[in-house]
């Protein structure tokens, strides 16, 4: 007991040290980064990304340290640089970065020496070619067959008043502290990438690129930039800004290991510039959703010129020029209290299809309100325009349908059925830890979890039970598989098979050697304590003692990533992707070393000398040769049909292995808004997961005055239905 406590302390201290070393805070996660902790946001907690634990982050951190160390130790790296090139290193000429006289290609004429040097050192990844070399048989696409999703009724103007739970610790979007809740206003819901995936269909629509084409190899995408595309400081977006993006993202100065890895050499193989507005990006694998994956954002080279050790401090409170419509100006920042974003009056995409009639408010006022309950009161007062009502107590008790503000037609409550992969709320059983290494026990455990009661009583039947490990991926999700249902008899039958047959004096099952059937359930979600309390009380009926271990989130996820848990209750945000990921959570390479099939003996049984691998997403410690084989094939596969089939087989195999008790999913988004906020007829696109995301609403300032005066006189307003349900995208099960 003493030892484990010591270990906990030790790991905590280590984590804190790492944290302090890098200046504190978590990392960025703009792109598709699985993220424990944040899924809490789906219950309309303020997205408290800042403080959330991040095993992925820690993992990346460790990796970066290792990389840096290796570099330092073996610093025999040949640093020939530009001079080396000038001295006649012929092997470098064919990349087209430099001409015969040692001058940079005209497209790179503006680059600083250190940036050029970086390109030269990585010339396999950076190439300058000419338009003649563009393949002639490209099939260009421009998304013109897709439909716009904004409303023709929308009007520009007005102020949108919203809140965030913490004052941002920086206005950078990359680097320590940058992935706070506020980043969505700077980056995620603001900035425009090369090509955007359409939220109502499986297609794409133009972003900075007005057209794009997938090359013959299936791994390269060609983009032609829109001639109007500009940054918010008025400078045009150049093709070389995408070169610079890789320079930026791979730099150690940004202190963003996750980005360093995501944009690493092994994934983004090469960027080729053809002219000022044409480029190609080569990815490491031909995936069905390739276009989306390589649609990166440009980094304004004219703004940074190059990066140095002062990146973090220099840009701490300066927003980099963005391709999006909203900017933070100095006068808009009231430290500790609020930030106001101003709409560019002449945004380059103002009249483009898919962008017109979106981003309507002239200003976004983001107040800092730390307590969500207080924010709710501010909303009821009319000082916030919208508020998330996903939590049951907000929807039913705090703002019931007959609440005067709703009944009098000032406020509207909206339920919008969306279709997005849900955050994976589930119990993940660590199959490497006795007694849970016994399949019978694990199946019994599944049947002892009364999620039905949780859904009925805590979530009042508003949520649906998650069925498989990969719900919400359209055809890739298993069509029929169901989660195991609560049943005391079935659970006890399986527990009996595992040797737990008699009940002790406290009603908990005991096996022949006198061990109690007691399992520890770890989590970092304090706000979901009720759910666990219900599970615990119900599990007693099946003779299972569930010990709750609700820790502060950093400590909890750290314990889990060290694989010290028996069962962990957590959720990962899944991203709107075409097909689910299996390798990270279920491949044996993420459970044990050595890699590959060496960890199994001839009968496919795990060798006793394997070493548990920590800091991976395989929280179930799944190591099954058959599942490995399926995942390997799944990862290699490039055809969507095969991928679909394999995804189904994998879902079944993992179900049979019984390491994952699916929790619940929320098939909708619920929010409340004052009626001066107007929405399109369908309310929003299908893939909306946050009402702030696609910005198709508009603010009617006249309506605001009208409603406010009606409110002060107590007069009811007609023509507002108060409660609305949008069921267009409701899944039929």
């Amino acid at each position: 007991m003493k030892r484990s406590k010591k270990n906990h302390l030790l790991s905590f201290v280590c984590a804190s040290l790492l944290w302090l070393l890098l200046g504190g805070g978590c990392e960025d996660n703009t792109l598709k980064r699985p993220e424990a902790g944040d899924a809490a946001g789906s219950l309309d907690d303020p997205p408290a990304r800042l403080e959330e634990a991040d095993e992925a982050y820690l993992r990346e951190l460790a990796r970066t340290f290792a990389r840096e160390l290796k570099k330092e130790l073996g610093s025999v790296r040949t640093n020939e640089g530009i001079r080396g090139f000038l001295e006649g290193n012929d092997s470098r000429r064919n990349s087209g970065l430099m001409d015969g006289e040692g001058n940079p290609h005209p497209l790179l004429a503006h680059c600083s020496d250190s940036v050029l040097e970086f390109y030269l050192e990585n010339k396999e990844a950076f190439e300058v070619s000419s338009v003649e070399n563009l393949p002639h048989d490209l099939r260009w696409e421009d998304g013109s067959q897709e439909e716009e999703f904004s409303s023709p009724m929308a009007r520009r103007g007005g102020v949108w008043r919203t809140f965030t739970s913490d004052f941002p610790r920086t206005l950078r979007t990359v680097g320590p502290d940058a992935n706070g809740a506020f980043r969505r206003f700077l980056l995620d819901y603001n900035s425009i990438g090369l090509v955007m995936s359409h939220p109502d269909s499986d297609g794409y629509f133009p972003g900075l690129a007005k057209r794009w084409a997938v090359g013959k190899d299936g791994r390269t995408v060609y983009f032609e930039l829109d001639e109007d595309a500009r940054f918010s400081d008025g400078k045009p977006v150049r093709a070389s800004d995408f070169f610079f993006n890789l320079y930026f993202m791979r730099s150690k100065h940004v202190q963003a290991p996750w980005y360093n890895d995501f944009f690493g050499k092994d994934k983004f193989l090469k960027i080729t510039l053809f002219d000022e507005r044409t480029l190609a990006i080569k990815f490491y694998k031909a995936k069905p959703d390739l276009v989306e994956r390589v649609s990166i954002r440009p980094t304004p080279e004219h703004f940074y010129k190059e990066l140095g050790g002062d990146y973090l401090t220099k840009y701490q409170w300066i927003q980099e020029p963005t391709t999006g419509p909203y900017v933070v100006r100095e006068e808009g920042v009231v430290k500790g209290q609020s930030i106001t974003l101003a709409r560019l009056s002449d945004w380059w995409a103002d009249d483009k299809r898919f962008y017109r009639r979106r981003y309507n408010p002239d200003r976004i006022e983001v107040q800092v309100i730390r307590d969500p309950n207080k924010a709710f009161e501010v909303f009821l007062k009319g000082d916030l325009d919208m508020f998330g009502l996903s939590k049951t107590e907000y929807w039913y008790e705090k703002l019931p349908d007959d609440h005067p503000l709703v009944a009098k037609g000032y406020l509207t409550k909206v339920t919008f059925f969306n279709q997005v992969p849900p955050p994976t709320f589930a119990l993940r059983i660590n199959s490497s830890k006795p007694p849970m290494d016994d399949l019978n026990l694990r199946i019994g455990f599944h049947h002892a979890m009364n999620f039905e009661l949780v859904l009925e009583k805590i979530f009042r039947g508003d949520f649906a039970r998650m069925r498989t490990v990969a719900d919400g991926y359209g055809g890739r999700s298993h069509p029929t598989l169901q989660a195991r249902k609560f049943s005391v008899e079935t659970a006890m039958k399986h527990f009996a098979n595992a040797g737990y047959r008699t009940r002790g004096s406290d009603g908990i099952l005991v096996n022949q050697s006198g061990e109690r059937l007691s399992v520890e359930l770890l989590t970092g979600y304090k706000h979901l304590e009720d759910v666990l309390v219900v599970l615990r009380e119900e599990a007693k009926k099946a003779g299972l003692d569930l010990k709750l271990k609700i820790l502060e989130s950093t400590a909890a996820w750290k314990t889990a990533s060290e694989k010290k848990h028996q069962v962990v209750f957590s959720a990962f945000n899944s991203f709107v992707e075409l097909f689910p990921r299996f390798w990270e959570p279920f491949h044996s390479d993420n459970a044990y070393s050595p890699a590959g099939s060496e960890k199994f003996d001839a009968d496919g049984v795990l060798r006793p000398d394997v070493v548990i691998k920590t800091d991976t997403n395989n929280y179930t410690q799944t190591a099954v040769p058959e599942i490995d084989r399926l995942i390997d094939r799944y990862r290699e596969e490039e055809s969507l049909e095969e991928i679909t089939l394999l995804a189904h087989r994998l879902s079944e195999a993992i179900h049979d292995h019984a390491v994952y008790v699916p929790g619940w999913k929320k098939p909708w988004l619920r929010m409340g808004h004052w009626n001066w906020v107007r929405f399109p007829d369908d309310w929003g696109p299908r893939e909306t997961r946050d009402f702030e995301e696609f910005q198709v609403f508009w603010i009617d300032e006249e309506g605001r005055t009208e409603i406010e005066s009606a409110k002060s006189s107590g007069k009811a307003l007609d023509g507002n239905d108060g409660v609305r349900i949008y069921e267009k995208h409701r899944e039929k099960f």
């Binding site: 107590e393 009583k457 005391v488 520890e520 009380e537």
Partner: protein
């Protein structure tokens, strides 16, 4: 051995304390409350007091859990005695069940009614006298068990902090000189460790598989560890003062050793200082454990606790006012009683009986 008797001074102090009605009655009330709460299982419990089934009597309150099969209910898990009572009533047989006054335990969710989804208002019919909380647990049951835990905690806290403070304080005060110089600096350094942060940090990494008892005691130890310093100064000063008196010199002259002087002569005289502080320390301990629970760093879920109830109440002020009302009333009443006791003790131990401040 000599028959135990208080010395006349102490007896006078006790008499004086008894004569201060408000403090004395508060003390009795608190004592009775705490004594009752030690047997809370007989008053507030989901297990029945007595079950008469087929001619035999069962007393399920203490001891092993009785499976439903025993009463022909057809399940192996613990009998639901409220349902059993209903059943017997309907059957109209000789079997009967005697339930405690509040037939709920603090952990159990009462989802009997179709519409029960949390926050049921107080109801005599369902015997939820103070309503239910978010997961339909009985508020009164949680208050009662929360009281027991909070006060047991406070008493443990009192004993431990005073123990450390007395030991360290008397060592510093009695030996004085360099010991005092160095020791006091160490105490000062230690007292500058931010108490709340340390508790929050340590509690967050505390392993949860230790049973409730272990968790409560480790929380207690952590709190004691960072808060014994305050009392040390008083003990040290009192020892300093006392050791310069003639009776100490006399004892030394007739050859008494350090231990004897400290334990037989100094401590009894120093204790009166401590006793006057004790009730306030209890109040402080109860409020700190409540505050920690309120912040979510106190006792592990789902332990019944006042802080947790207060938190729920504040979060749901509009929809479930009975939670915050009961919890804050309980807190105010008990802390006021403790403070009354404290005032009375202070007055009783005050050598200036007719103080000009009266």
């Amino acid at each position: 051995m000599k028959k135990f008797a208080f010395n006349p001074l102490t007896r006078r102090k006790l008499q004086r304390f008894r004569s201060l009605r408000r403090g004395y009655w508060s003390f009795l009330l608190l004592l009775a409350g705490f004594a009752l709460s030690l047997f809370a299982e007989l008053l507030v419990n989901k297990r029945a007091l007595i079950v008469r089934y087929e001619g035999t009597y069962h007393f399920p309150t203490y001891g092993a859990q009785i499976p439903g099969d025993r009463f022909g209910l057809g399940y192996e898990y613990e009998t639901n005695y409220r349902e059993l009572k209903e059943l017997f009533r309907k059957e109209n047989s000789n079997n009967w069940v005697l339930l405690p006054l509040v037939p709920y335990d603090p952990y159990e969710m009462d989802y009997r009614e179709e519409t029960a989804t949390g926050f049921s208002p107080p109801s005599l019919k369902n015997r939820h006298f103070l309503g239910t909380d978010k997961t339909e647990r009985d508020v009164l049951a949680r208050l009662v068990y929360g009281f027991r835990i909070a006060f047991a905690f406070a008493l443990g806290y009192l004993l431990l902090t005073y123990l450390i403070a007395v030991v360290v304080g008397s060592v510093l005060g009695y030996f004085g000189g360099k010991t005092d110089m160095m020791g006091l600096r160490l105490v000062e350094i230690w007292s500058n460790v931010p108490f709340l942060y340390m508790v929050i940090i340590l509690v967050s990494v505390m392993p949860g598989w230790w049973g409730l008892g272990w968790q409560v005691s480790s929380l207690l130890l952590i709190m004691v560890l960072f808060s014994w310093t305050g009392m040390t100064y008083y003990v040290r000063a009192a020892v300093y003062k006392e050791k310069a008196r003639d009776y100490v010199a006399a004892a030394r002259v007739i050859g008494a050793g350090s231990a004897r002087i400290v334990f037989r002569h100094l401590l009894p005289n120093v204790l009166s200082t401590l006793v006057t502080f004790a009730p306030f320390t209890v109040a402080a301990a109860v409020s700190s454990i409540t505050a920690l629970d309120f912040l979510g760093y106190g006792l592990p879920a789902p332990t019944p606790s006042w802080g947790e109830l207060l938190k729920q109440g504040v979060d749901n002020l509009r929809i479930a006012p009975w939670i915050v009302a009961s919890a804050s009333a309980a807190l105010v009443v008990s802390l006021t009683l403790v403070t009354f006791v404290g005032e009375a003790v202070r007055e009783a131990f005050d050598p200036k009986k007719f103080s000009t401040y009266q």
